[in-house]
Amino acid sequence: MKAVLFSFFFVLLLLNPGLFAQTDIPQVVIKTLDGKQFNTAEIDNDGKAIILSFWALWCKPCQKELDAFNENYQDWHDETGVKIYAVSIDDSRSTARVMPMVNGKGWEFEVLLDPNGDFKRAMNVNMIPHTFLIDGDGKIVEQHTSYFEGAEYELYEKVKKISGIE
């Protein structure tokens, strides 16, 4: 069985090497902060760039990254129209604390809940923070794991590039 599966992928790769690149956002049903179901296919920004970031309450670097995004969000949005989605992978031990924390921090972007990691797995996220940059056609063009102070500037350069603003 293993041999079959591995040869399957191997042959696929031979036939089309270009296939090994994440492009579309997978469709997974997760939740909004008020408990409503949300299909990730609805992640959309009218043909403009999207930043999608996986985070959790227990992850300090994630919050530092999102704080940095939030500080710049107004400017970034005015210049490029970029939209930010922050997907919390907190499970039921802490989902109740997500909304108060988001509001308490004054974050102004969309926050979604992925309490059993379904979207995280579909996006192949091993460690958080893990941030994706999605272009106006809904294709994933960049991804980055970890956050270090100042990484937001480089990310924003890329946002400008795909938005056609240099």
């Binding site: 409503k36 300090k60 039921s92 192949n124 270090f148």
Partner: protein, 554 residues
């Protein structure tokens, strides 16, 4: 080899006849390898016999998935040869424990093979995976999801659970079957879409089948559990509650008593920009639910009983983490998040973040079922418990205050104080040990040298008379965004009651990150402790040596 040829043949066939199969498809995946090389370090109690020849621990996995429109399939390969210190020895092995194929449309979704699922908060069913803990209770079977109308979701699952590398055969563990339905009234009922109140109801049932071959007791072979939940939101308020009940399920965890089990989890929150408040209550009574009644470790859990206290991120604050007591507990949690506005005296130029969190968990009250039977006697109804009564026995209490402040473009800091009560005898099973009462303080200061270069200093202190006594920790980190990091850290157990154990646990790390790939190397000592993520904990023994971690996604 013949199989390989047949696949090649089949694919060439597909390739000729259906270009879509190849060209419109996507293949994605991720890999991770965590390795540790151990050496003897007598000062912290590690000698050649503790290492026992296992000088190298290697945990690795690779995920690959294939997607073509509504169809997807994938595999995960894992190899623990040998597992890193602290992982269950049963983890040793290699193979493909996880493979699946699925079709998802708006109306129906079908998954065959291994899968993860959660009903509501998970009080009666949750399968998930936590790599850093070596935890995986995935179901191997089928999952069906139907959305008959907007706002209505019905899920059905059945299968057997993963138990390390042990194959499911001859009823060597139980079978799990479950059904869940959820209705979002505002999406379902015409005209309610923009109503001021949003109402969601959910109900689920799970049944476990395990053959009874006990020579002594007549055990239930089919154990069922039910749960109902509700989520109400109106403007700035949100109320969520879930109640679960399980019929009698004598097991190794509850000492084979025939009592029913129950769990409740409720939360009420209020939030508006700049302010968030949440109060959460929980009661658990005899609610361990495993697909093998004989297992008492961290495995084969069908349900998930979330500990609701805060999960701390800084090392000393996280030194004494709580774990849910499935046999009974009553807990509460309160959190307040507030942002002192920009421009005010305390808020300064950027605003100041304040978070206050309090949680406490006590035991439930257990009364004997009659005058002659001691509480929790094997083979009896166990005990009676008043739903609203709280025992004086405190398992855990945590009061913490965190202040987050940005001073300028160059400087920012986090300050945290925490007061902790930790019943180590119950939580870690160290019978007879005194509860740990500790005060913990920490500061985390960041200085941005330039846009891309920054320095971060963490100073922490943990002060207690119990367990290993006082600790101090310091860490300095230098990062070059978005690529490099270097850290030097030391944890010093200067207050250990035994002077010869007053050790330094130093470590040096460096790492390189490029896009979704990360390589990190650490050399040094790791102190003994507990790592908890998502409600499951793993004891980490003291170790000394070199650690490497490699991770990539594509």
């Amino acid at each position: 080899m013949r199989k390989v040829f047949s696949i090649v043949f089949l694919l060439s066939f597909f390739y000729s006849y259906s270009q879509d199969f190849i060209e419109k498809a996507q293949v994605n995946g991720s890999f991770q390898l965590d390795g540790q090389y151990y050496h003897a370090d007598n000062a912290i109690g590690i000698n050649d016999s503790t290492i026992d020849g296992r000088k190298l621990g290697l945990n690795g996995f690779g995920n690959i998935s294939y997607t073509l429109g509504k169809f997807s399939a994938g595999v995960r390969y894992e190899a623990f040869l040998t597992p890193i210190a602290g992982f269950d020895p049963l983890q040793q092995g290699n193979g493909v424990p996880y493979m699946w194929a699925s079709y998802q449309s708006d109306f129906i979704g079908v998954t065959v093979g291994n899968f993860y699922e959660q009903f509501g908060n998970g009080l009666i069913l949750r399968t998930y995976e936590e790599w850093t803990l070596g935890y995986d209770n995935s179901l191997n079977g089928m999952k069906l999801v139907i959305r008959p109308a907007t706002g209505i979701t019905v899920k059905a699952v059945y299968g057997s659970q993963r138990y390390y590398w042990q194959k499911f055969e001859n009823g060597n563990r139980g079978i799990v079957r479950g059904l869940d339905a959820e209705i979002d009234l505002n999406s379902t009922i015409k005209g309610w879409e923009s109503a001021p109140i949003r109402v969601i109801f959910g109900a689920s049932g799970v049944s476990k089948y395990q053959k009874d071959s006990d020579p002594l007791f007549n055990l239930p072979e089919n154990v069922s559990a039910f749960a109902g939940r509700m989520n109400l939101s109106a403007g700035k308020f949100n109320f969520a509650t879930e109640y679960a009940n399980k019929i009698n399920d004598p097991s190794a965890i509850n000492n084979f008593i025939y009592k029913e089990g129950q769990a409740v989890l409720s939360s009420l929150s209020f939030s508006q920009p700049g302010l968030g408040v949440v109060l959460q209550l929980k009661r658990v009574d005899n609610m361990s639910f495993k697909s093998d009644r004989g297992v008492d470790g961290n495995a084969l859990d069908i349900n998930f009983l979330p500990p609701i206290n805060r999960t701390h991120s800084y090392s000393l604050a996280a030194r004494y983490p709580y774990a849910t007591q499935p046999n009974g507990e009553m807990g509460m949690q309160f959190q307040l998040n507030y942002k002192i506005p920009k421009g005010s005296k305390l808020g300064g130029k950027y605003g100041t973040g304040v978070a206050v969190n309090f949680s406490q968990v006590n035991d439930i009250v257990r009364n004997p079922i009659n005058d002659t039977t001691p509480v929790n006697s094997q083979g009896t109804l166990g005990y009676e418990s008043d739903f609203f009564k709280v025992s004086d026995h405190i398992f855990f209490r945590d009061l913490n205050i965190e202040i987050n402040k940005k001073f300028s473009r160059k400087w920012k800091a986090v300050v945290q104080y925490m007061n902790l009560y930790y019943d180590i005898a119950t939580i870690e099973g160290h019978a007879g040990e005194e509860p740990v009462k500790a005060n913990i303080g920490l500061v985390d200061v960041t200085y941005n040298i330039s846009n891309r270069n920054s320095l971060r200093l963490e100073l922490q202190g943990l002060f207690t008379e119990q367990d290993d006594g006082d600790w101090a920790a310091a860490m300095l980190e230098y990062t070059i965004a978005p690529t490099w990091f270097f850290t030097i850290a030391d944890q010093y157990n200067y207050g250990h009651p035994d002077k010869s154990q007053q050790n330094h646990y130093y470590a040096f790390s460096l790492g390189y990150v490029k896009q979704a790939s990360r390589i990190a190397l650490t050399y040094g000592r790791q102190s003994e402790g507990v790592i908890c993520i998502g409600g499951v904990c793993r004891q980490v023994p003291a170790s000394s040596g070199l650690t490497i971690s490699l991770s990539t996604s594509f």
